[in-house]
Amino acid sequence: MGLFNLANRVASKKLDDLAREHAHQTGRVDTGLPFGARVGGLIQLVLADFALLEGSLLYTPSAAQQAIVAASRLHIDADEDLSIYRLYTSTGVDRDGQGAFLQIMTGKDRPQDIRDLAYYQFLFREYPTTPEEQDAYLGNGYGLGADHYDMDSDELGMISHVAKRDGRAQALLAGAEAIGFDRDAAGGDYIRPWRASERRIDDALGAKGVEKTLSFMQYVRELPAGLAQSTTGAHGPIERLWVAFEHVTSMDGRPASAAWVDYFAGVAIDPAHLKVF
């Protein structure tokens, strides 16, 4: 390396350090979240809430404390004032969304008023490539939005944590041909899927993230009563199935078009069993 090049590199390094000190840094944008959560914080769940579920599609998380790696908000097209937030404990490989999140619905402008709290885990993903395949999820009178959904053994085999365990799929089916879910909304045989847009931030400054639109519907089923419910005669817990046709429009501030259908399983969480640090 010549002397000139060396001097050039030293000067450039000094100037870079000086520029880094004087560069304008934007403030955090992960403010106003429920429970005072922030990206990089921690949430603590009660693992027993998952371990005691009978015949559920959910798996018990590996640790009670999980880091919040991302946060997002769902803007429902029908009501912009609805406050539905997601605290992601995992965004998947390459932040593709195949992870898990805690979904919180609060009162309008009242983050302390928790209306709904549930934890969702990714099951599997589909890629409808033709217009006919996509029409089933976009409110064309059939498909997503029907009042019932059946998940058969083929789909159960696509769930990674089910496929890894031999006989797990058959155990979940319990002799039936499919696992049945009922739509979590009234309105007859078919209603058009709900539409929303999600803006997810993957860091505290909002520099990295994803923006996408969703056409989704939630289905539910009652799980077999566990030990706690059987002794008191209460019904089993409700398992949720979140089906969403997602269209990614941008990622990290750059246009990035992608589309898929994601299936998430979820279960309601008692706010008293949740801690956010």
Partner: protein, 281 residues
């Protein structure tokens, strides 16, 4: 036109819904969506920008009619909002649909031309009014009147060594001038060197003004030689002053350019470390 199984299924669904769900089972078995995966006719799932570690659905066309999985309209009306999330979302969408319907009826009653678009609902993934090209703004280009002809002073350097222009501008005062030719529109006094005719013609080739002043200039050639030393002394100050101004302007411009370049470089360097907020909740 080729009718796919999906289109047939859609038609059957429409018939079933109109008939009040008379054959939900038939729909479930005959339609693609009761068969779940048979509804997708693509033979392969295209990879997207995000790779999935889990098994992506292998989309294949299945001719078997009876499949238990998939979306099914049972016709029993047993679906109901079980969770608070479901009830809140369904209430919000139901109220929005009701408001949309009411607006559409009011628009159609008033005879608005936009009634048709009010009821688009969820079907469209996003429709935007076609952009209309705004009329190109018309403006009158400014017109400039030709400046009045001004006397032109032309100095022709006959030296064989051109050198750098700036150096020549700076050094011409001290260097002995070999040939100076001054041409003015009116009156014209032409000075020529030893090879006067060629110098005069050289100056005349590049400018129109000398051509205009050629006639009176030529008549004044004979009388101009006696005034050559005087004219030299008279021409020298204006030319050097102009050159000095030009030099100063160039110097100031260069300094300004240098300062602007430095600021731009510094701003670009800072921009590399400046965080940018792309998304807000």
């Amino acid at each position: 036109m080729r009718i796919t199984r999906l289109q047939l299924a859609a038609a059957l669904t429409a018939i079933a819904l109109v008939a009040g769900g008379a054959a939900p089972a038939a729909f479930a078995k005959g339609s693609g969506f009761s068969g779940g995966r048979s509804s997708f006719s693509s033979s392969s799932s295209s990879s997207r920008s995000y790779s999935s570690p889990s098994v992506s659905r292998s989309v294949s066309y299945d001719a078997s009619p009876a499949r238990a999985s998939g979306f099914v309209s049972t016709g029993t009306g047993r679906a109901a909002a079980t969770t608070s999330l479901g009830s809140t979302l369904s209430a919000a969408h139901a109220s929005r649909d009701a408001a949309t319907t009411l607006n559409a009826r009011q628009s159609s009653a008033s005879g608005s031309s936009n009634a048709g678009s009010a009821g688009s609902g969820y079907g469209a993934t996003g429709s935007y009014a076609a952009g209309t090209n705004a009329p190109a703004p018309s403006y009158n280009a400014p017109t400039y009147s030709a400046p009045a002809p001004v006397p032109q002073t032309v100095v022709v350097h006959q030296s064989g060594n051109d050198g750098f222009f700036l150096g020549w501008l700076l050094g011409h005062d001290s260097a002995p001038r070999e040939t100076v030719m001054v041409q003015q529109a009116t009156p014209a006094t032409v000075q020529s060197g030893p090879d006067g005719s060629s110098g005069y013609q050289g100056a005349q080739a590049g400018f129109n003004a000398p051509a205009q002043g050629a006639a009176p200039a030529s008549s004044a050639v004979s009388g101009g030689e006696r005034a050559t030393p005087t004219l030299q002394q008279a021409v020298k100050p204006p030319g050097s002053a102009v050159l000095k101004v030009v030099v100063w302007l160039l110097g100031i411009g260069g300094a300004a350019w240098l300062v602007v370049s430095l600021f731009k470089g510094w701003a670009a360097r800072k921009a590399r470390f400046t965080s940018k907020t792309n998304y807000r909740l």
